[in-house]
Symmetry: C2
Amino acid sequence: MDTIRLQKILHEHAVKPTANRIVLLRTLAAAERPLSLAELEQRILTIDKSGVFRTLAVFKEHGLVHVIDDASGARYELCHGHHHGHAVDDDTHVHFFCERCHTTFCLDHIPIPPVDLPEGYEMSTANYVVKGICPNCR
Amino acid sequence: MDTIRLQKILHEHAVKPTANRIVLLRTLAAAERPLSLAELEQRILTIDKSGVFRTLAVFKEHGLVHVIDDASGARYELCHGHHHGHAVDDDTHVHFFCERCHTTFCLDHIPIPPVDLPEGYEMSTANYVVKGICPNCR
DNA sequence: GTTCTTGCAAAATATTTGCAAGACG
DNA sequence: CGTCTTGCAAATATTTTGCAAGAAC
C-alpha cells in the first residue's frame, strides 16, 4: 500500500505517522493472516522488538488493530471497520487455528455470531477461534 | 467431590488415578471459573508447578479439560460433556474476559453458536471469549 | 527546550524439559 | 525389575520496562 494512504489511515485514528508506524502498518496491511509479535519482528528488520511491541500498543489503543488470542498467544491484525475510537469493535470475524501446523487463518467472510450476554456484562469485542485441522494438513 | 467419584471420572477417561491427579481434578471440579496454571499452582500447595503442568497435559490428551485462550493466556476447565475420547468437544460454551479486573467468567449456559467452516477445515473444538467489562467492575 | 519516539539491554513472566528418585504393580 | 509418575532445578520462550539518545515541533 502506498505511503500516503497509510498516513491517512494513521491520521484518521489520531496516530502520529512516524516512520516506524508506517512500516508496521504496511506490514500488517500486507499480511494474509494475523501475525504474532515474533513474526512481525522477523518481517520488519528495521524495528526492534520493543519498538514493535510499543507500536502495537499504540495501534491497539487507537483501535487500529485487534488482538486474536489463540493457542499460540496473541496475534495482531488490522481492523477493517471504520470506527475511529475505542468503541465497540464492529469488524470481528472468526479465525481458525490449525493444531497440526499451528497456523492461524483469518476467515474474514465469517462474522462472529452474536450471543446474548447476561445482565451487567458489557461487551467491547469478541474472540472466536475454531481449532482443528486445516485444509493443508489433512 | 468425594474421592470415589473423582476416581471414577479418571477411570472413565482411561487415566490412572494417582494422588496428584485426584487432587488436581478435585480442584478443577470445585473451581467456579477456568483457572490458569499459576492459579492452580497456588491453590494446590502439595503439587509442584511442573506436576500441575504435566498433569494438565494428561487431562488434555484424554479430553478431561478444555483450554480457554484469553488475553491472560491459557486457562483450564473441566469438561462436563460425556465423551471419553479425543473426539469433537461437545461441551463448549462462551466465556467472558473482563478487561478491568482480568477475570475470566464461565457463561456455561451460553453454548457457542456454530459457524459453517469453509471446505476442508475440520473442527475439533472452539474458543469463544467475549471481552469487556464485567458486572462487578461497572 | 519540551515532548514524543526509538533502540538497546535487561528485567519480569510464563512455559517447558532433564534428570534422578520414588511409587506402583 | 520395568514402567509410570513426581519434585526440583534449570532451560526456553515470551512479554514488558528502564533509560539514555535522537527526532519532531
